[in-house]
């Protein structure tokens, strides 16, 4: 069974192995054991409410319960930009016009902003290559929305995600080559790595502070602004189906887009329903229409998939194994939502 649960210290080795295979572009999962250990510790303290809610960082682990091994992680950063400065470029427009000459000229312009400061970010999504099938990716990402649904007061009303920007096969970002590179001599991969280590603010401080008129950039760089990496397209499509939209902000390094949504408008939040647990002797092994079910526990948050057939009005039939994994007893209240949005008829 695939189970979502808070990450724990014992998961470090598995997480480190995954980070090593992640490569450039997943800036929030650098292959640095010490750093990962501190991330896990941060997460443990967040789930146990030992840190201020605004300083919290929650890491959800996807466990293959048969192997007792973590095969994916996803995270929520309760607030960004509070202890360091959070930068994005806003894709904006400058108009220069002269009545005398009959000219009206629009120039796309990038403005450096701190607009996402104090917002909640969903981040650190990584799934082991062997598990990139079935419902795993969806579960790993969307389980976070059930957490947001029950603990909205711990987060900002607006949630955003930074999508990895375009890079060529060698991992070079045309946007970086044209802009960031000119302001300090560093390979994108190095900047990316430093970012992952938590140095993003340092790097950002080296970036140009004044607005950038896009005609000054190369065509290759202009074309990738707001474009996601090909590998990230499914993730973007998934977030879009949940109600996320491009908000006009892009990453300052690779110009990948930011997508955002208000918590109450997230499909998995909006369509989720609270139901009671009813023990069942039956084990449903075939999941035809997957439903996410969460135990609504802040400290011991658990999410698993069940089949639509296990839901009868306001009750959910859970096998013994599911109850155990979800740490639920008969009569407990769970939150359920279909894993996928209903297709438009």
């Amino acid at each position: 069974m695939m189970l979502i649960r808070p990450i724990v210290a014992d998961d470090l080795e598995a997480l480190y192995c995954m980070a090593q295979s992640a490569g450039v572009g997943v800036t929030t999962l650098p292959a640095n054991e010490e750093l990962l250990a501190s991330r896990i510790e941060h997460s443990e303290r967040s789930f146990s409410r030992s840190v201020d809610p605004q300083d919290a960082y929650y890491l959800f682990a996807l466990e293959d319960t048969e192997l007792k091994r973590v095969v994916g992680v996803s995270g929520i950063m309760a607030r960004v930009g509070l202890d360091e400065v959070w930068y994005n470029y806003r894709v904006s427009t400058t108009v220069n016009a002269s009545k005398e000459l009959g000219i009206h000229k629009q120039t796309p312009t990038l403005y450096l902003t701190n607009d996402m400061t104090d917002c909640t970010e969903i981040c650190t999504l990584f799934l082991h290559a062997d598990y990139r099938n079935g419902h795993n990716g969806q579960l790993l990402s969307k389980c976070r929305f059930l957490y947001l649904a029950d603990f909205a007061e711990y987060f900002s009303s607006k949630i955003f995600a930074e999508m990895r920007g375009y890079a060529d096969e060698d991992g070079n970002s045309p946007f970086w080559e044209c802009l960031g590179r000119k302001f300090f001599t560093m390979e994108f991969s190095k900047a990316d790595y430093l970012t992952g280590l938590g140095n993003k603010a340092f790097i950002a401080e080296l970036m140009p502070k004044y607005p950038i008129y896009l005609p000054f950039l190369t065509e290759e760089a202009r074309e990738v602004i707001g474009q996601v990496h090909p590998h990230t397209r499914p993730a973007l499509a998934m977030l879009e189906s949940e109600g996320f939209n491009f908000n006009g902000l892009v990453d300052i390094f690779d110009a990948g887009p930011l997508v955002e949504v208000f918590v109450r408008n997230i499909r998995s939040v909006r369509d989720s329903i609270k139901r009671h647990v009813m023990p069942s002797q039956q084990t449903v092994s075939d999941i035809e229409t997957p439903i996410m079910v969460s135990n609504r526990s802040f400290e011991n948050f658990r999410v698993a998939l069940i089949d639509q057939s296990q839901i009868k009005q306001d009750v959910v039939s859970l096998s013994h194994e599911l109850q155990e994994n979800l740490q639920l007893e008969s009569g407990d209240m769970v939150r359920t939502v279909p894993l996928r949005a209903k297709r438009a008829e």
């Binding site: 220069n96 002269s98 000119k182 300090f184 001599t185 004044y210």
Partner: protein, 337 residues
């Protein structure tokens, strides 16, 4: 005899003929007759002390062969750069992008739009017949302005600037313009240059980007053109350097050409200038000097040979004095060539 004097309306055909020999133009002077007429008119009013142009006088001198009446050159200055409107330049500056934590230290050149040269005295409208370009008459035409400014210093500020035409490629395109202004104006350099000469300068404020421009984002060619004079302006540049001008941090917003700057009292002409009383004499030998009378709207300057002796009196040939319209006992100012 060749003299420099304030331009008059009657000089118009001569000036037009001169500036249409394109080789003669060393700085921006309109070739359009109406615009030239306006320029001469404006200058005449400036010399006449017309209230309407007070504080934004623009003076235009001509160099004339008094025998043939041919106009051989023009030179001028604006008493207050911008002439009552903002005067635009880019100031080339430097930012340090550094991080101790990351061990990074980078100097980044940046261009700031500025009006800080507004109100300075701006040299302009220099053109000279190619026959006279490499002769002492070039000095006469250009340096007589400095004598004029010093003699009438209450009408001018100390800070003098000279905008030098920027680099162009073989086809007449300005690489600086192509990489910068073009994106915002949607027109070629010649058209923009034309507008800036004849239209109000408001259009610059309307069209130019208001935020600073990072030099590393410009094309290599444009970066190389920053503060580089046009090949035809190189001699004039050297001349101004010898006179005491220095390359400042300002460049032209269109073509990136350099703006040279000087303090009036530091100019060689001004430092070496003397003022004496004329004693008429039939024969006079010696070195060639720049000479001028000390009047304002009847200003005259010429080149003449003489010997500068002790005392407050200067012996001057009658013909020279006449061409300068100075009578016996009148004031004359002079400076060595």
């Amino acid at each position: 005899m060749i003299i420099v004097r304030p331009s008059r309306f009657a000089d118009l055909p001569g000036i037009e003929k001169l500036v249409n020999e394109s080789a003669a133009r060393l700085s921006t002077l309109p070739s359009d007759r109406d615009k030239l007429g306006e320029k001469v008119d404006y200058s005449t009013r400036s010399f006449a002390g017309d209230d309407e142009v007070s504080g934004k006088e623009r003076y235009l001198f001509v160099m004339e062969d008094t025998e043939t009446r041919e106009i051989l050159g023009t030179s001028g200055m604006d008493a207050s750069a911008g002439n009552g409107a903002p005067f635009y330049n880019y100031r080339l500056d430097e930012l340090i992008h550094s991080s101790q934590q990351l061990d990074v230290y980078n100097e980044v050149d940046i261009l700031y739009m500025t009006h800080e040269l507004t109100g300075t005295t701006a040299l302009c409208s220099l053109s000279i017949s190619p026959r006279y370009r490499k002769t002492p008459y070039f000095d006469l035409l250009s340096r007589s302005r400095f004598m004029f400014m010093q003699l009438h210093h209450t009408r001018f500020v100390q800070r003098i600037i000279a905008e030098i035409q920027g680099m162009q490629d073989e086809t007449g395109n300005s690489p600086f313009w192509e990489s910068l202004g073009r994106h915002f104006f949607d027109m070629d350099f010649a058209t923009a240059d034309y507008y800036s000469g004849i239209k109000s300068k408001t259009f610059i404020a309307e069209m130019m980007p208001s935020h600073p421009v990072y030099v590393p984002l410009l094309s290599k060619e444009a970066q190389d053109a920053i503060a580089q004079p046009h090949s035809s302006a190189a001699d004039n540049c050297q001349f101004l350097y010898r006179e005491g001008f220095k390359l400042g941090r300002h460049i032209d917003i269109f073509d990136g050409g350099p703006t040279l700057e000087a303090s009036r009292s530091d100019l060689n002409t001004v430092k070496s200038m003397k003022r004496k009383q004329v004693k008429l004499s039939e024969h006079q030998v010696g070195l060639q000097y720049l000479m001028c009378n000390t009047r304002f709207n009847e200003f005259r300057a010429t080149l003449a040979n003489m010997t500068d002796g002790m005392g407050d009196v200067l012996r001057l040939k009658r013909a020279t004095a006449e061409s300068l319209q100075i009578a016996e006992g009148g004031d004359v100012a002079f400076a060595p060539l």
